[in-house]
């Protein structure tokens, strides 16, 4: 519907703004850990075997699997 992307589609160094969560089960966990709509999020690293990933959000680093990152919809900002 809009040109939102999934967090899992970002490349290393790219940033985006969190828009919405597509999974009810995970959204609360994400919110509690500081992934809020409107917050900018940067992909920092990808694990050696391609999964999971490390992102920088609200000033700290967190890790999640790609399958989990898929449920965070973001609007693309560009690369830092």
């Amino acid at each position: 519907m809009n040109n939102w992307r999934k967090l899992s589609d970002l490349k290393i160094g790219e940033s985006a703004v969190i828009e919405e969560f597509s999974d009810d089960f995970l959204s609360l966990k994400f919110l509690e850990m500081g992934c809020l709509p409107g917050e900018s999020i940067t992909l920092e690293r990808i694990a050696p075997m391609g999964d999971p990933i490390i992102v920088n959000v609200s000033g700290y680093l967190m890790t999640m699997r790609k399958s989990e990152a898929k449920t965070i919809l973001v609007s693309y900002l560009g690369s830092a």
Binding site: L28, E32, E44, T63, R65
Partner: protein
């Protein structure tokens, strides 16, 4: 002043420095127990306040919010939300990482709304200063309605401030930040009506209802039913409500930080962490470094712990010599020396290795490296039904399965946790080392391969590798068998790298080792007394006959040793050994090994001591003489050597796989809370051992 100690609970996010604060408040005055009904470590400690009053502190498991998502977190919920709980605090100290306030304040605002007197501690203020951020403590305190204290890990000023603050009379928080009576009035008033006797706030009543629902306890059965009806009546959507609540709280926090702190958005990247991550989580380098570190750790553990282990061994020999000479000979003497002291020595001997391993794991966790290990290993572990977090228990398993199984509690997913518990005992633990050492020296020549590698060393390495391979294979099978609808999540914080805090690590080593000694110790001593009974008694006239036989020359040591050996054969243990001989014959074992298999059930290393008794070696610590007698032993029927290479290798493989450890079964039962899990564990590992030994024996025969 008042004599009744004040109960204080420490709550906070993971990595907020909560445990460090707990350690510096209580020092060595702490103990690890259990929260009633669940198997979560409960750390409590005492501290004396400046006015002389005593405070009892509880270190609650770290959590990001009151709504629990793992067993650990549900403990925090239960203690804080149920006033009837025995650990319900007089005061809650909320510890928040000052350098990451926004996320840390979420839990703080939830706790404030519970309306229990509380104090907010802003930790890691040194980091905040480094980031050139400013936080107005006075402003925070006013807007949150509670006392706020800033704390710097490097200074003790904050500690004194905190101690002074908790001894003064504290009011309940002044106002609510989120009010469920406003957002869901009808639902909330029905819940309030349910707890009509309580004077609590609507929010704490709601959390109490949540707690009843989560606990599923029998005593609250009717309440749980009523709560379900209320939820249904108002079609109250819990998930939606929790989401909305969280967002409202964050809105409050944003405004708060806008007013009370500077440059929240200009957080400087931690350069060191990002540089270190480039190396430590590198595609190839990351794995290589991990393997290298593991190799170094094992080398250090095994090389360094030899000396304290020898000392402990020597001390226990001295102790048993002096006890047996001080007491009159007889049953009591034998019970104390061969039962109790032998059992005690069997536990104490592992303290050095376990302490070293906990030290390394502690350093890896404290520096933040362990989170990276989970990160790089998750993909691989997932293939086998495990989780990145399973790496820690599997590594701890090389010291001892007991603390390793206890370390699985951080794995939130039920299936992944169960699989980890089930396969951990397959990892070769330190108790197998004495058995391996004896058998390797018996059947593997000490010659060199390619002129560099010692064959015996390679054999030991192979035994470790088949343990790991066995664990991975078993995990894969369990992944296919176990059914679970629960989703596996791997969302966690990556702490920044920092220097280890040695005093905190020291305390952890001390506490964990103590827990191991007491947990495993109880079982091992009990079993070793039972085994002592089984091997010291037999059907009555058999023993009398043996004594008669050797009566003529009672003083010579050699005769005494032979008599002991004959007695063991005639004892109940000996009879068991003979009874199971047909079953273990296909593996190349005779009844003597059968006895040792039974006795080594107390703990694997008992195998060596049993062999010493069977082959009537007076001094059980003289390994070379046990080896000589064992290698000279021949089968009375076939005339062949008992310990052929095939039998020796088969026995080693058996020990690598079989669950020869009562304490492990006990801890599995405690952690899984159902007897079927230790039973499965025992049976599948036994089957693996039997099949593998059978194959190996026939290959080498």
């Amino acid at each position: 002043m008042s004599s009744k100690p004040v109960k204080i609970a420490l709550a906070g996010n993971p990595n907020s420095g909560k445990t460090t604060l707990f350690n510096s408040l209580t020092g060595l005055n702490q103990k690890i127990g259990n929260f009633p009904g669940v198997t979560v470590d409960k750390k409590t400690g005492k501290c004396i306040l400046p006015n002389g009053r005593e405070a009892i502190l509880t270190d609650l498991p770290g959590t990001y919010s009151l709504y629990p998502k793992s067993i650990d977190e549900s403990v925090t919920h239960k203690v804080l939300c149920n006033p009837a709980d025995s650990d319900f605090p007089d005061i809650i100290v909320v510890v928040a990482d000052g350098s990451n306030l926004k996320r840390n304040l979420l839990l703080a605002t939830q706790i404030i709304d519970l309306k229990i007197p509380c104090i907010l501690v802003l930790n890691m203020m040194d980091l905040v200063l480094k980031q050139k951020k400013q936080i107005n403590i006075e402003c925070l305190s006013q807007k949150l309605g509670i006392k706020v204290i800033s704390m710097n890990a490097r200074e003790s000023k904050g500690i004194l401030d905190l101690k002074t603050a908790v001894q003064e009379p504290l009011e309940k928080p002044a106002f609510s930040i989120y009010d469920i009576q406003l957002s869901s009035p009808d639902f909330s008033s029905d819940i309030n009506a349910l707890f009509k006797n309580s004077t609590n706030s609507a929010y704490s009543n709601y959390q109490l209802a949540c707690n009843f629902k989560l606990s599923e306890e029998k005593e609250h059965e009717s309440d749980i039913k009523t709560i379900a009806e209320i939820i249904h009546k108002h079609s109250f959507n819990e998930k939606q409500h929790q989401n909305d609540e969280t967002l409202i709280r964050y809105k409050f926090i944003s405004d708060l930080l806008f007013n009370c702190s500077s440059s929240e958005h200009l957080v400087e990247q931690n350069n060191f962490t990002s540089k270190a991550d480039k190396i430590l989580t590198h595609k190839i380098g990351g794995f290589l470094i991990f393997v290298g570190i593991m190799f170094l750790i094992f080398q250090t553990i095994f090389n360094l712990s030899v000396y304290p282990m020898q000392f402990i061994e020597w001390s226990f020999i001295q102790l048993s010599i002096s006890v047996s000479s001080l007491m009159p000979p007889g049953i009591l003497n034998s019970l104390i020396v061969d039962g109790v002291i032998a059992g005690l020595s069997g536990i104490m001997i592992f303290i050095p290795q376990i302490a070293f391993l906990f030290a390394f794991i502690g350093i890896m966790e404290d520096t933040g490296y362990m989170a990276r290990v989970s990160f790089i290993m998750d993909r691989l572990m997932r293939k086998f039904g495990l989780n990145g977090k399973s790496v820690i228990p599997l590594l701890s398993g090389t010291a001892c399965a007991i603390p390793a199984i206890m370390a699985t509690r951080t794995i939130g997913n039920w299936k992944e946790r169960m699989i980890t518990i089930m396969v951990v005992p397959l990892i070769s633990c330190s108790a197998r080392i004495p058995v391996y050492t004896l058998l390797i020296s018996l059947v593997i020549p000490s010659s060199k391969l390619l002129g560099i590698f010692n064959l015996q060393g390679i054999a030991l390495l192979i035994l470790y590798l088949i343990g790991f391979a066995g664990a991975i294979a078993a995990a894969f099978v369990f992944k296919l068998i176990l059914k679970s609808k629960e989703r596996s999540i791997f969302i966690m914080e990556m702490p920044v790298y920092r220097a280890p805090r040695w005093s905190s690590i020291g305390l952890t080593i001390f506490e964990k080792t103590k827990t191991f000694v007491f947990e495993a110790g109880k079982v091992i001593i009990a079993i070793s007394i039972i085994l002592w009974g089984l091997s010291s008694y037999g059907p009555s006239d058999d023993f009398a006959k043996i004594e008669q036989k050797y009566k003529k020359n009672p003083n010579a040591t050699e005769v005494e040793e032979k008599m002991a050996s004959d007695k063991l054969e005639a004892s109940y243990a000996g009879r068991f050994g003979k009874a199971i001989e047909p079953a273990i014959k296909p593996l190349g074992f005779d009844w003597k090994i059968g006895i040792a298999l039974i006795t080594s059930f107390a703990a694997r290393e008992v195998f060596v001591g049993t062999m010493a008794t069977i082959y009537s070696v007076g001094d059980p610590d003289n390994t070379s003489s046990i080896r000589k007698k064992m290698s000279a032993d021949t089968n009375t029927i076939t005339g062949k050597k008992t310990y052929s290479r095939a039998t020796g290798i088969s026995l080693m493989v058996f020990f690598a796989f079989a669950l020869q450890c009562m304490s492990t079964l006990a801890v599995t039962l405690r952690e899984t809370k159902h007897w079927k899990w230790p039973l499965y564990q025992f049976l599948f590992m036994g089957a693996m051992a039997y099949v593998a030994s059978f194959i190996v024996f026939n290959l080498f025969k």
